[in-house]
Symmetry: C2
Subunit: 107 residues, 2 copies
DNA sequence: TCCTGTGCTACGGTTTTAGTAGCATGCGTT
DNA sequence: AACGCATGCTACTAAAACCGTAGCACAGGA
């Protein structure tokens, strides 16, 4: 179990404390981007999220959800895991990703 | 050494072949996002890139650069590693990330 | 009470990443 | 030629992260 990267602290590959470095560490962990992506259309329960991620180990899923919760990107409500306002703003930057990937596939 | 995720093929967590899933697998590997990020201002030699990433293991750096080259996101020119046109288009989506991270740090 | 679904954990094995050292090649200088 | 130096890259061992199966503890409904 690893420490959740936080802005203003030393993270993997950077001791500057620059927020973007903490973000890149956080998002550069396996399944982190995918989890955010799968929550784009609304809340998912723990098990539904596991299914959506198609085979993720519950150990890792739990690590990621905890990190993302600690970071304020997602939250756990009555209807399951859901993006916070902050998380939705971050996802907005990734929204064009699917379109870009389609173009990428055609290269 | 792992297979480079490609659109149209089975990738980690998805057998649909959807391009965005291959992309999330590719970018979800350690240092992948960071490498792209560090190349944002221009080409870097292998060693300069290693320095920019602050302590990345050369083994992993080489794995990532190979994957990103295979994927057409970066290239190796006379002046070192550089984003391709495709890579720059992808990075454009991440450009707002630094600003978002600043806001995130203030939460 | 029994059944079901929830979030989550234990644990053993595999894969990935880390860290140090160094190789092979090319290039300019002496 | 012989040297120094920088390049991209690899070998090797150890540590960390991840996987996969099973199952726990709790809550709500029948």
């Amino acid at each position: 179990m690893t420490r959740t990267p936080r802005p203003g602290t030393v993270v993997r590959g950077s001791r500057t404390g620059k927020p973007v470095m903490a973000l890149l560490d956080l998002l550069g962990r396996r399944w982190a981007l995918r989890v955010i992506w799968e929550l784009r259309d609304g809340p998912l329960t723990s098990r539904a999220l596991r299914g959506a991620c198609g085979g993720i180990s519950p150990t890792v899923l739990n690590d990621r959800t905890r990190e993302l919760r600690d970071s304020g990107l997602i939250g756990l409500e009555d209807d399951g895991y859901a993006l916070t306002q902050l998380g939705r703003e971050l996802l907005a930057n990734f929204a064009p990703l699917a379109a870009w990937a389609e173009k990428w596939a055609r290269r």
